[in-house]
Symmetry: C2
Subunit: 317 residues, 2 copies
Amino acid sequence: MITVLCGGVGAARFLRALRGLPDPGPVTGVVNTGDDTVLHGLSISPDIDTITYTLAGAIDPERGWGLVDETWTAMASLARYAAVRPEGSTAAPTWFNLGDRDLATHFYRTARLAEGGSLTEVTAEIARAWDLPERLVPMSDDRVATMVDLLDGRTVTFQEYFVQLRHSVPVRGVRFEGSAAATLQPAAAAAISDASVVVVAPSNPIVSIGPMRTLSGMDELLAARRSSVVAVSPIVGGAALKGPADRMMLELGHEASVVGVARLYRDIAGTLVVDPVDAHLVGDVEAAGMRCVVQPSIMSDPVVGAALARAVLDAAG
Amino acid sequence: MITVLCGGVGAARFLRALRGLPDPGPVTGVVNTGDDTVLHGLSISPDIDTITYTLAGAIDPERGWGLVDETWTAMASLARYAAVRPEGSTAAPTWFNLGDRDLATHFYRTARLAEGGSLTEVTAEIARAWDLPERLVPMSDDRVATMVDLLDGRTVTFQEYFVQLRHSVPVRGVRFEGSAAATLQPAAAAAISDASVVVVAPSNPIVSIGPMRTLSGMDELLAARRSSVVAVSPIVGGAALKGPADRMMLELGHEASVVGVARLYRDIAGTLVVDPVDAHLVGDVEAAGMRCVVQPSIMSDPVVGAALARAVLDAAG
């Protein structure tokens, strides 16, 4: 049994890569919900949806999020209302694109949560609707909201930072509202305890893996089985493969390199997998306190992905 | 100033007909909200939307509801989730069609209500977004839910009765949940008091005009100015022009005729306008306690509509 700690795109691709192995066994993704938001009254879980759609083979391959063959009629129709909303209102936001097909997912999630279903239950139902063999578990059923403190003094939600501001503004801090009161989903805790291997996916260490690490008990669970926890570096050659992880690490005082990643993960993971482009940093990663395995980690095709998945499992012993 | 008490399609057409007059002056529609519902977490006001879209020239002329040139991608995508919802869940309802363009209206309403806007404010904003010269005011900002008691013992919401069951099941009662605690919107009350003419549109007397009449003070306001309140019969030749008004009247013990309509309205309106097909019933309408004016009332084209509007205003003296 393999458990993968997941953000969005990188994690989705790693989970998909596991399918390239002859018999990976049961796979559970424990997914970040700090990015979750409510727009138009709809409950939106971007990381869960990106993973679900990717594993369903339904993701838009160009954008990396949302559904392929998507239409944007509802969004286009919002502009009329954005033009009349009163001062101070944020209704009819047009900066967060929701495709017409994708809307059905948010409709279902919103209605089921309103009926009293937990996010864990609803996530499993949505995964079943897409016939996924993998199990997806949100890190918590409680609301944890990643808030970004900008250098200019403003505080914005993660989606405002990531989508509306195109993560192009300097950050001075990141907080996870609600995490002190939130409970690590017991199914997630069990999946971490019971797995033969735990993988920290190549996701943003601060805003994808970070939120789940603030949940009480999470780091302790990982530390207790640290030798069979393997992290895949999301930083390759000093840059994030996707998103703002590199700049964010720098802005928050970390080194934007595999060494910086190792310093963030050394207490919870025994091994860091780095791309050959970072092979010269193996010694520094080990000096930072992690074993280091070199393996092509840019999952550009299924062969590379399967080899990466194999190397990760092998690294766990 | 003209104030029209409104349900959906018939009222929308009458409001549009008023535009055929040379100078109708300011027009206010006081609109039924007993049909309002929440689906997918979205606040839906079917009568307000039907009127808004009709006056905007954007209604689908075939269906009589929703937007013209509509697409149904989000709805079609719901089926996947309807198939996995657990026993007892009503999430992913596929019986209530919401077009992709139309969704933007519900998104805006839902978000504005969540921000603390009143339904009256949001309705005015939506009307402005469509450049309507008419003013639309919901009968109340408080929740009033039309509930239908079926002969088979079940109780369903109005939309379940009207759309899901296609109003093809016998009814033994209609109730308006929340109406005792609901306040007649003050702007609606003022529009009724201050108008030179109040028109009861050709809408269902029981489930369109009925809900507003259960609001405290409404009937008294109308009765106090009864001589300049003119109702247009929604029953023509013993049948409803649209919807279940005729069967519902019969099932609830009323006569499905202009005479039955007169008996329902005689306390609040001085005059009933009936179609020439019902000219033989003028005496019976007057015996029931209302003046009766005969005028073609099937608004099949703008000329008929404008003549009806003229006759209604003339009837108020």
